[in-house]
């Protein structure tokens, strides 16, 4: 593991793992932007790319989980930044001004799960979801959406 791990572990409240052996750093939602800002400051924007954003609805715990999969380029490793947000008010800071590549992931997560990325001007319903579901205000991947 590279020294990039130090940035992640500095901000992490605990670490987990996703199979097969991918490091997960659980952080507070307010630290999310800081992770990417420090990563760019220390290693430059060419040292990683944001591979995907995975949102999971967890109604039993009344929260939602957001995983940011970051691929470190020269090392060829994928690490995960995981954060939890409140399900009744799913809002998190957008990182689109730091990393424009977050556009696809944030737009999709907003449309399907209803997580609002504060500061992203491109969010819109109907990015993928059909018009009739948009009119009913349904986010299809929520477990209680009834779809």
């Amino acid at each position: 593991m590279s020294t990039k791990a130090e940035i992640f572990s500095k901000l992490a409240i605990r670490t987990e793992a996703v199979k097969p052996k991918r490091m997960v750093f659980v952080i507070r939602p307010e630290d999310l932007r800081k992770v990417f800002e420090e990563l760019i400051k220390a290693f430059g924007p060419e040292s990683f790319y944001l591979s995907t954003i995975v949102g999971v609805d967890l109604p039993a715990e009344n929260r939602m989980r957001l995983d940011y999969y970051i691929h470190l380029v020269p090392e060829g490793e994928t690490v995960v930044i995981r954060t939890f947000i409140d399900r009744s008010n799913p809002v998190i800071d957008s990182i689109i001004d730091i990393i424009p590549g977050a556009l696809a992931g944030e737009s999709e997560t907003f449309d399907l799960l209803g997580i609002v990325f504060k500061g992203n001007p491109y969010l819109k319903r109907g990015f993928f979801v059909p018009v009739d579901l948009v009119q009913k205000g349904i986010h299809p991947l929520r477990k209680d959406s009834g779809v």
Partner: protein
Amino acid sequence: MAITKIVEVPLVIAEIPIGPQHPALHEPLLLKVYADGEEVVKVEVNTGYNHRGIEKLCEKNTYIKDLFIIGRVCGICNAVHTDCYVRALEYLLGLEPSPRAKYLRVLTMELERIHSHMLVNATMAEVIGFDSLFMQIMLDREKAMKAKEILTGNRVMADYIIVGGVRRDIDDAKKEKIKDLLLKLRPRVEYYKKVFEEDETIVKRLVDVGRLKPVDVTLHSLVGPVARASGVRTDARAEDKYDAYSEIPFNVVTRKEGDSWARMMVRWDEVLESINISLYILDHLPSDGNAVPDEKRLPRIFPAGDSYARVEAPRGELTYYVMSDGRSTNPYRVKIRTPSFNNIINSAFMYIGHSLADVPVILTSLDPCISCMERVTVVDLKNNTRYRVTVRELASGKV
């Protein structure tokens, strides 16, 4: 009526919709292009014309049925999709398939890469108006399709990879046939590569069009041949060494130029690499272990946990996230991130400053696969059409 008054219209920025149905596009996508004269000043990518709700369907069906749903995310690269999903499940189980199965999986995926790259190069020839080259490449692409049919039983839809192995084995006669086809294909690919290098029309249309800097590649999360053509060395085959890639020698092709031409040349070089990989597999196929597991004994419930698999699809890094709650026969969450999802939606900045005629060239050089990209949402099941009823039955597990 005679003309009584002439009003001069000032030249303003024009909005030109390219798609969702357009001769230059082979699949439905809307590029809203804003042009000042001939120069593109802004592009918006509009999506939503081809969604089928695959992620939701996966949550509503069992793990084993999902194998066949996931094979239908994309026609061109169905084997890599299935391989990625199957490996995510195998990580959950802690299962390792036999070496022979691993080699056969790689062989299918490499044959798929050959025909996918040949398809997009042929499409590029068509887009720039070189139709005879398009037909020639498509004719030779049939050799790769035939080889895939001999291996998996089908030209396109393989449904070949299952948890623990593959669905059919090959014998020596089939091996020889595939080898023969690949050896005939190689000189043709070398010839086409030379055409792309030397033909004046192709070089004029592609060189310096849609140039990408490495920093733009990583900031906009572009993957696959697009990233490698800009000198960003990322290839899931070399990094994760999944299946048999740890034992097979191959090169990661990169170029420095970063323009549309470089992206097409990376693809031609990768076809040649793939042919070498396939020939290596046919010569070194291990004979230990059973490659074909008993389908009746496949596990129905998977241990609780989550796994994340990466695969190098023809268009770039494809990832599957599978989450299991350990109790249900259905997955709790399946997240698919296809390479086109990043490459097309995040690449609107690439068109700016080029002329309108370059828009299809740049789009084709990204190798768009719309069916891959738009697999996420839900089809409304209540209103109409027999197709939707079928999907509904499928989603509720009745079929």
